[in-house]
């Protein structure tokens, strides 16, 4: 047998066992190395995803033993970025990373990982590939950061923060380390613009009451009513919000990872007209026999989508809490037309019933700003999917629904076996951000996914941190991630100052809670 034939037969074996030695010419790269066939493991999992061209460096840890590490990041155009490290933490220089990504929009981003083993031999692993999306993601992400449980709302770290996605800078918008501020939540922006923003603040301090901070055309003011889950009309002239009675309860004996749960005992929707400074409601939004929650305007502002379920109890006491019917509460997705010029509401119509959704309960609808898509999540029962392991993301093509009259929903492939929730859109409708428990258990983290024009949603990446090990010991949970096009310009001191000032927009809330408020303390439920 000829040498050539032997080599031909053996070459796959040689390649697989890594006996093939390459010699390459590059000043910064290992000169000699062997190829190994197994995939290198890195954490976070930045592989086979689509990433924003303006994202901060995706620093990562190589989960392989080695004496030295070398990573070459390259694409179709421009100079590769190289990182040499004696530790498995790979910290990518920001400037060259940004340049490379910007020059290669729509191209593959390749990572060649070399590891020097204990025998001083360099090993080259199969290339890790991601794709750089053509479109940017909004530059800032706003989220609420807190301990997984906040029963007592002690000082910090509960707060609303904004993170620059193009680097690692995070600043506080408001937090509960200020006197009189107990809880902050439900931040909402109009078309991803922080110059139109709502943010709820709760207080139990004497002399203060719950309120909503509003930025409208850059002016910061306080409304004398606490808004719940809110949605701005795309015109910015009004915002719909929920009024809720949402006591927590706890699963004492189930084997679920998440021990907490919340029930929507009573809810309705109201809306705030910005110019008139009044709060109103409509029968379609506040039926006493129904629970109404999670409002979301359509991209064109002609429809208000929300979740709605029959209220299965009339009155609730601590002795009857949680009501035995609570697992039968399944929300439908409904919508109602709205004429902004006439301030007139149309007929209520069911978009997707729980029955049509396989008996699941629908929550958190979010329409894309271009009006094409409606993203929602569904879970086993109830209104709060974050605390249900089985909560998944689904999508409805609204354009197709208008054409066919059928609101078909599909489960997204990016779901994990843990809870996915709190989804929202970028201003260009090409990115979504959502909270997931897939990697860090009860510590919810934000994930970014690309959505192409056909509605396909790609494998997400977790919000990158400067230290790739950051989440491994981060005891805080991130929820309600919302993308915005520029930073909120008010400081947390200014926000707190306005909340604590006596000046406020006085409003009358046209709905009173029919259900007695229950405390948030340890209400146990056997399961």
């Amino acid at each position: 047998m000829s040498k050539k034939r032997i080599l031909t037969i053996l070459s796959p074996v040689i390649l697989l066992t890594g006996l093939f030695v390459f010699v390459i010419r590059d000043n910064n790269m290992p000169v000699e190395y062997i190829r190994v066939s197994r995939q290198v493991k890195i954490k976070p999992d930045y592989t086979e995803a689509v990433i924003p061209p303006n994202i901060a460096p995706l620093n990562f840890r190589i989960l392989e033993e080695g004496k030295r590490y070398f990573v070459k990041i390259h694409s179709e155009h421009g100079d590769p970025v190289t990182v040499f490290s004696k530790r498995p933490k790979i910290l990518i220089p920001n400037r060259s990373w940004k340049k490379l990504l910007n020059e290669n929009r729509g191209q593959q981003l390749n990572l060649d990982v070399y590891i020097q083993n204990q025998n001083n031999q360099w090993e080259l692993f199969p290339t890790i590939s991601n794709k750089i999306a053509p479109e940017d993601i909004d530059s800032f992400l706003v989220y609420r950061k807190m301990h997984p449980t906040h029963t007592y709302y002690f000082d910090g770290p509960l707060g609303i923060y904004q993170r620059n996605l193009e680097n690692f800078n995070e600043t506080g918008i408001i937090n509960n380390s200020f006197d009189s501020i107990y809880c902050v939540n439900c931040h909402t922006f109009c078309k991803n613009d922080p110059d139109k923003m709502l943010l709820g603040v709760r207080s139990i301090s004497p002399g203060y009451s719950n309120a909503t901070l509003m930025i409208d055309d850059e002016k910061l003011s306080k409304i004398g009513a606490k808004f719940g889950y809110s949605s701005w009309h795309p015109s910015g002239r009004l915002a719909v919000y929920s009024l809720n009675n949402l006591p927590m309860y706890f699963h004492i004996m189930s084997n679920r990872n998440e021990v907490r749960n919340t029930i929507d005992l009573n809810s309705a929707l109201a809306y705030y007209l910005v110019d008139d400074q009044v709060i109103k409601t409509a029968p379609q939004l506040s039926d006493k026999e129904q629970l109404e929650n999670w409002p979301a305007w359509s991209g064109d502002g002609r429809y208000l989508y929300f979740c709605r379920a029959p209220k299965l109890w009339s009155d609730i006491t601590m002795e009857r809490f949680p009501p035995k019917e609570h697992k039968q509460v399944k929300y439908d997705l409904v919508r109602v037309g709205y004429d902004i010029e006439q301030d007139k509401w149309g007929e209520l119509e069911t978009v997707l019933s729980s029955k049509e959704a396989g008996g699941l309960s629908i929550a958190m609808p979010k329409t894309s700003p271009d009006g094409r898509w409606l993203l929602l999540c569904m879970c086993e029962y109830g209104f709060f999917p974050t605390w249900h392991d089985n909560s998944d993301l689904y999508m409805i093509d609204l354009k197709e629904a208008e054409r066919t009259g059928k609101f078909e929903h599909r489960r997204l492939e990016i779901n994990s076996d843990q809870s996915e929730s709190w989804q929202s859109w970028s201003s260009n409708s090409r990115w979504i951000v959502f909270s997931s428990k897939r990697d860090y258990g009860v510590f919810t983290k934000p994930y970014l996914s690309y959505v192409d024009t056909s509605g396909r949603v790609y494998k997400p990446v977790v919000l990158p941190q400067k230290d790739p090990d950051f989440y491994d010991h981060c005891l805080l949970t991130y929820n309600t991630p919302e993308l915005i096009i520029k930073p909120v310009k008010y400081t947390k001191g200014q926000m707190a100052g306005v909340f604590r000032s006596a000046e406020e927009i006085e409003v009358d809330v046209p709905i009173t809670g029919a259900t007695k408020k229950l405390g948030y303390d340890n209400i146990g439920q056997r399961e």
């Binding site: 002690f154 004996m253 084997n255 258990g441 090990d469 981060c474 399961e527």
Partner: protein, 249 residues
């Protein structure tokens, strides 16, 4: 206090018995009784109140490992691995999670899994007897149940369950139970069957000494209290008679 000392130290030093209470201490009882979710919730509340104390992180990690929620456990262990005195413990478990994610061979995790209630359990958890009836292998549940009988002065409850001491490998009857038994015999004026166990000579002697003092005061409880408190404040007889954990200094 270690729950397994309940039978001997329940009526002793009030400081060590946890009479002063403390929010975070609630998790220990829940954990002992197998209510891992409730323990988890108490610990998470404590984390909010006191910050990431190693004791809290350690127990949260154990609970999540016992429940099979390894992702949450890793985060608690990751945080703990950055502390000065508990890093080795945390790193040990992090390594173990890599080599044996089932943790079937870990003694502590196995113990928690053995006693934990899960969704298959369906009973009224308001009564300690019901909790014990549903977790008969849980030594802590047994001790809590017996302690509740002591505190409720249910002497028959103690007596009826002496037969279970064998299930938990007691070599002898704990002192407080012995005193309760003698008290029962004294009141009922009859002997009882103790399933192979017997009340120790020392306890008999102490019981007699107690009665001697009481007789000297002509059974006047109030008059005898000061002297009895000096020698018997940790006894069940004293608790039964004066109904308080208070110690007269």
């Amino acid at each position: 206090m270690d729950v397994l000392l309940l039978s001997s130290k329940l009526l002793g030093d009030p400081e060590s018995s946890g009479a002063a209470g403390g929010h975070w201490k609630r998790f220990g009882t829940c954990l002992d009784l197998g209510f891992l979710n409730s323990a988890q919730h108490s610990l998470m509340d404590s984390l909010e109140m006191y910050g990431p104390r190693p004791l809290l992180l350690k127990n949260l990690a154990l609970i999540h490992m016992a429940k099979g929620d390894l992702n949450s456990a890793r985060v608690y262990l990751g945080s703990l691995s950055k502390t000065l005195f508990h890093d080795e413990w945390a790193k040990g478990y992090l390594e173990k999670l890599e080599s044996d994610p089932s943790l079937d061979n870990d003694i502590e995790v196995r113990r928690l899994r053995n006693i934990m209630f899960n969704k298959d359990s369906d009973f009224n958890a308001d009564k300690i007897e019901d909790i014990f009836a549903n977790s008969r292998q849980n030594h802590a549940s047994f001790e809590y149940m017996m302690s509740s009988y002591l505190l409720l002065e249910d002497l028959e409850g103690i007596l009826n369950n002496i037969r279970l001491l064998k299930d938990f490998d007691y070599a002898e009857i704990p002192r407080l139970y012995e005193e309760a038994i003698l008290l029962y015999m004294f009141q009922a004026k009859k002997s009882v069957y103790l399933y192979g166990y017997k009340v120790s000579e020392a306890t008999h002697q102490r019981f007699n000494d107690y009665m001697t003092i009481l007789t000297r005061y002509k059974r006047d409880r109030r008059a005898a209290q000061s002297e009895l408190a000096r020698g018997f404040s940790d006894s069940y007889l004293y608790f039964y008679m004066y109904g308080s954990l208070e110690i007269i200094k």
